[in-house]
Symmetry: D2
Subunit: 342 residues, 4 copies
């Protein structure tokens, strides 16, 4: 079988680095083009020395060239810019996998509310499929445009959606507190992110109206079969490079049943390779999933308050971004879903 | 004025080290005796090299000697052992400040439920005062036995109690997610705490029935003027040495009023030196309080869900243990409350 | 081609975990047996949750069973124990790759001097090949017993040996200062290694007569073609999980020639896939090689003192232990040398 | 006694923060003015929240105002700018303590060679005293301008100078490898210093011709009584906030004598409060001196190579910068040398 020819557009950040890492060793991919306006002309190893073996260079993005040369394009751009590339590339027959936020939110009103600009392409938005394979695998198989979920949303939707879908927990009073490693802020040069400001520090930020919130609410509402829901999502920054830990407090809709919870997870993830539900009483740890495409889920019922506490971990750059993008590509191109990801 | 003569009993852990640090430089204290069965006979600098200037040595605990020599004894022992020292020392006229858990919980039933042993001294328990100065200052002035609050409880009671006391938030559905640095686990030699297991790791533990829970519930119920309440407290371990970050989700009892919240905090802490409430919209960071006796509190109202999100930080070894113990001592002995703590 | 059937003996430490990680995904290996006396009977995922997909369990070591079932055995045991397994397994026709120290040092006197016990098997020692592929590839192809180099030695021999071999630097006054991450101490439960003792800490240890010294001196002397040499090797512990940084100060034998140095490295490593020599003026960083089998080398000549400063980095668990062991296996079994390692 | 009125000029970096921390609680100092062009008008707690109790604000620097109001001015400016303030302030009778590099190097040629600009004030340079109290205490007592040593130099000169002064070690072949925490790079917003680039990273930088080198060489030559010497100084960046660890390799001039070394250190530091020499065989650890003004020194003789290995630790922001500046102030103003520093 011919290799899938791939381009990464905007690859000089941490998600871009992770995509390069995964695609270089992917047995069915030929990574042809890696763009970065800022670094154009440099070898990728000049920015990411671990790729010293690769002859690849950053180039300035050239849509016509990518359209001619590639089968799939991964977009790793700041929000607002994806449409400019996605439209012509899709017209040229490529599949586009966007790891920015532009095509995740179905509602252009919500997009504007949270991103403060008009949606750059409401037409294209209609074609986009939300790239969470464990929930939208069939749609991904046929999608031209796959909107990769955000890192926090992945860590929250995976553990919560099956319980909502089974009607086991309420759509009200969902509360999520998440801790993220600093790579989640991107490769951003800002005082808040220099080492002495992050090390020996724990802080919350964006505790209301974080940009990932509408995406999480949209997907949890869909899982629950309701039009909308409102929840709290409170992110924190902790001094690790990678990893998200999400703690989710849920209210059971009826008398708690451990069997029902286990059954809902078994139904949702019994055959999934990248989601593992721990045996009751065990809790996850970010270090167990670092540099893997896995989401680990644990849960404990508190008979004291009647709440169910669900905890999940992912690597924010892998299952939370670039690994999931590769999983989507594998699905879209009919490959073994785990190819290049184990 | 004659110096207050002090003993620390059981001083070879991190709380003990912090007590030594604070008492050595306290201008009104003469640190006479530092005990540790395990390290008896060694200079304290053999265990804690930063005290190289001090001639003090660890000794085996000798109650008669302490009773004869000291005015105050700090107990930094594992739970269950405090009474053995507290009873004879109080009889000898000393003031006892216990940083273990033995005298924090008023209910011996709760103590047994959470600590799995009978309370070692229900009689003495009746005399104990909960050593949170911002709430029990007057009682501390006259106490023979001061039960220093736990680290998590301090970080949760300080930001929450004034809002409950003012009737601004409900006693139901209180949810707290806390992140603690690893020194919170004590100077414990255990696989779970070696560096490669903690670094690049975030994990939850004790998510139901943590031993600090009954203490938090007791104090929040007291603040609210109710007999009891049930809440969720979910602690996490993050890779820092020091610091606790607590995120508290509260439900306002009436239409949210920023002015009412501010007024409640102003009333509670307007004259407090060790609690600072940030201006609206600002959130705390553990690094702002490291090695200080301060608690920093920030809050944000989420009009989306109607919940109030309150965040607080303390240094778990200072305001969360030994600094608070020194603050209690200052109060009990009629000293300036901040002496040795700025 | 039939898969190579592999056993790991003593796999419950960090080197064992890294071997499991590499062998599970190695396309030409069938990992049959993983032993640990302490963890026998447990699934490997009970100890290392990231291997949740694997059905493998730890077993108690059973030499006869391993001999019958496997083609290669990796030994990841404390020093002194390797011979007990190596002798019968080699007799049964297996190839043995030992990542302990038992067969690295040619001199039984030196072994006794540094390890304080008699060498457990001087006979077998004669058969052992030092498993540094970049220097002993041809011998490794035929070896029954491969003694994998230590982590520090790998980081020091690779950058230094070619310069000694070319006569460009003196065998006298070689000074090496190395920084290692804490996983280099093993999965050891000891007060010195708990998080609060290692975080925000830098310390030296074993600054004279470290156990890796005779191995380094032996290989550098061999490279230089002299009987022996004496050097300083000063290791430090720094708060990272992985990575060794070695700084090597060398005295050129003649007027410094950048071309000669570059030529010596080009000759030694021009065709090597796992050693990369940086262009002049660039220096390595441990993060560039984390979780890879690469050694990165940079050097700067100081015309002020006339010394050549060479810096190198490896991942102590990969090129410094288990990755190198897999590279040795690939060579021994006639596979592509990089198989499973990219 | 009237309080010493102090100004800090250029206080928005980490050394500035440490100076504020030390001076605010100094019992004999009245901190009057804190300048920062960038932050002028803001409360100091807006930048450094731990100073929330202080009413002080940053102001734009106003030399006339400082001259009128203060007795001492600390300069915490980038190099090249100190003279502009020092000249008029000294003329106005203030004492100036400069923690920049401008007045440390006696030779204007060396200054130009390493800082690439002409020295801003060769006249004033002649008046400057090198502010290392353990070596220049008497001169500091009378100095108008005190040039505080750099952080690396402090960590290297203190352990090395007494051995050179006693003729016990050679001035040739001195080799120093140092590890520094990231605060040593200043509060600098640069890609190289963001958390994900520093965490899990060890790297060398400036391995030849580091700007601290001429200062170290100048002081070691002075201690040895020679005109000049040439040495290697190789700094590394490690993932801690604070702390410098220096490893110094020295060649004894005669047969090694443990007694002579101990005697030299006893003579130099027997009465010093801020330098502690460990008993033979013990080695320092940066965490033992964090947030203290102490330098801890340990040493081991290697009979294998005949080299003496000396290790030292300081807190780069305290003894390496602001703590030493306060020690200098105490000396200059006739105060107890340890005042405000214990």
């Amino acid at each position: 079988m011919a290799a899938i020819r791939a381009a990464i557009i905007g690859a000089s950040g941490y998600s871009g680095e992770e995509l390069i890492r995964l695609l270089i060793r992917h047995p069915a991919v030929d990574l042809k083009i890696i763009t970065s306006r800022k670094e154009a002309g440099k070898k990728i190893s000049a920015i990411f020395p671990r790729f010293a073996d690769s002859p690849l260079c950053f180039t300035a993005p050239d849509v016509a060239e990518i359209a001619k040369t590639c089968d799939v394009a991964f977009l790793a751009l700041p929000h607002g810019l994806a449409a400019e590339y996605a439209i012509p590339l899709i017209e040229s027959g490529l599949k586009v996998i966007d790891i920015s936020a532009d095509f995740r939110i179905r509602s252009t009103e919500k997009y504007k509310e949270y991103y403060t600009v008009d949606h750059p392409s409401p037409e294209l938005l209609k074609k986009a499929v939300y790239g969470l394979p464990e929930r939208y695998r069939e749609q991904i198989r046929k999608a031209d445009l796959i909107a990769c979920p955000g890192c926090y949303p992945t860590s929250i939707i995976l553990p919560t959606a099956p319980l909502l879908a089974a009607g086991l927990v309420s759509t009200e009073n969902i509360i999520v507190s998440s801790d993220s490693g600093v790579s989640g802020a991107g490769r951003k040069v800002d005082l808040a992110y220099i080492f002495p400001e992050c090390n020996e520090s724990v802080r919350a930020y964006g505790v209301v109206r974080h940009r990932h919130l509408p995406e999480i609410e949209q997907e949890l509402a869909a899982a629950a079969g309701v039009d909308s829901l409102a929840m709290n999502f409170i992110p924190h920054l902790v001094p690790t490079n990678r990893g998200i830990f999400s703690t989710i407090i849920l209210r059971p809709t009826a008398k708690f049943s451990a069997e029902a919870i286990a059954a809902a997870y078994e139904k949702a993830y019994g055959n999934e390779r990248f989601v593992r539900v721990l045996e009751p009483g065990k809790l996850p740890d970010t270090k167990h999933v670092t540099l893997t495409n896995s989401c680990e889920i644990g849960y404990v019922y508190d008979d004291h308050t009647g709440n169910l506490i669900v905890c999940s971990v992912i690597d924010n750059l892998t299952k939370g971004a670039s690994g999931q993008a590769v999983q989507d590509m594998n699905i879209r191109f009919g490959l073994e879903e785990t190819l290049g990801l184990l």
